[in-house]
Symmetry: C2
Subunit: 152 residues, 2 copies
DNA sequence: AAGAATCATTCAGAGTGAGAATGATTCTGA
DNA sequence: TCAGAATCATTCTCACTCTGAATGATTCTT
């Protein structure tokens, strides 16, 4: 029964985008983490800043949704960013349960620095790829993120 | 000083491949993790199986290098896989300090199942992209991984 | 006005991984 | 040949991150 003969090597695990994204994502995250440590923040802090800059999410509850983390986690992130003077935290006068976060001038600066760090990681991570390949990659990642509701 | 006027929005953080890889990597990893849980393993177990299948790493020390984790972590991974009957663990007769791991028939089967899971995650993660875009993405990720010594 | 729902916060606990200490084995050099 | 250094696997402790369950304050509903 020749038809029962199967490939010795089917498409390897490493050929899947899922697995590679996991590995490369961890690599990228590690490098980004190392760079932004100089500013006293971690990726989740930066994500929160970016979410604020993007608009559409002000309350900690909303931010938890955008970042896809538990609301209780946002408390600590906001604590830290407030301590750094990067965000303001004010009770919503209309609904005093809500904490409304907003970027300060220092927050914008911090976000810009971290964005520069991300670009630096890009440069070393994508080094060797053609400019076109880089563009295509960014566009494809953006589309995938978009399709899965990852605004940030 | 018109030249001092800076963009209100420079290239956003989300435009970097680094940041998106981190986010999408986590997303992909979560979904992959959920699927393979049915087989009683986690991504690191699968990575170990894949590393064995790829060849070139037999000892736990070598595997730790390939997986980029501490050797102490490999112990638990190998314990679990051995318990599942997916790997054999034998002392190297030439150097009895080394544990030589090898895939059993069940190990090959398990890896194949997990690879199928990864393909399933690919399907839903990349849904909507053109076939060409998927191919380009996989190739680009492969190249990046390669350039950074990520054999697995 | 009372009870349900919502938001932020605190707290306890699970999960993950690194690094130091240990023991067994092998290597090195005199 | 032998003593000390080096290597490998293992165990154990610790730090870190995150979630989910209380809790209290406030708002919504009827």
């Amino acid at each position: 029964m020749v038809s029962a003969m199967k490939d010795v090597k089917g498409a390897p695990l490493a050929d899947t985008a899922a697995f590679r994204l996991g590995r490369l994502g961890a690599l990228a995250a590690d490098r980004f983490t190392a760079r932004i440590a100089a500013h006293g923040v971690k990726p989740k802090h930066v994500a929160l800043l970016a979410a604020l800059a993007a608009g559409g999410a002000e309350s900690q509850q909303d931010l938890a949704g955008v970042l896809r983390v538990a609301p209780s986690l946002v408390v600590g992130l906001a604590d830290r960013l407030e301590q750094l003077g990067a965000v303001r935290r004010e009770r919503d006068p209309v609904d005093r349960r809500r904490q409304v976060l907003s970027l300060t001038e220092a927050g914008h600066t911090l976000l810009a620095q971290c964005t520069a760090d991300a670009h630096a990681v890009d440069a070393e991570l994508l080094d060797g790829l053609s400019g076109k390949a880089k563009e295509t990659l960014r566009a494809t990642l953006a589309e995938i993120a978009d399709r899965h509701g990852l605004s940030i």
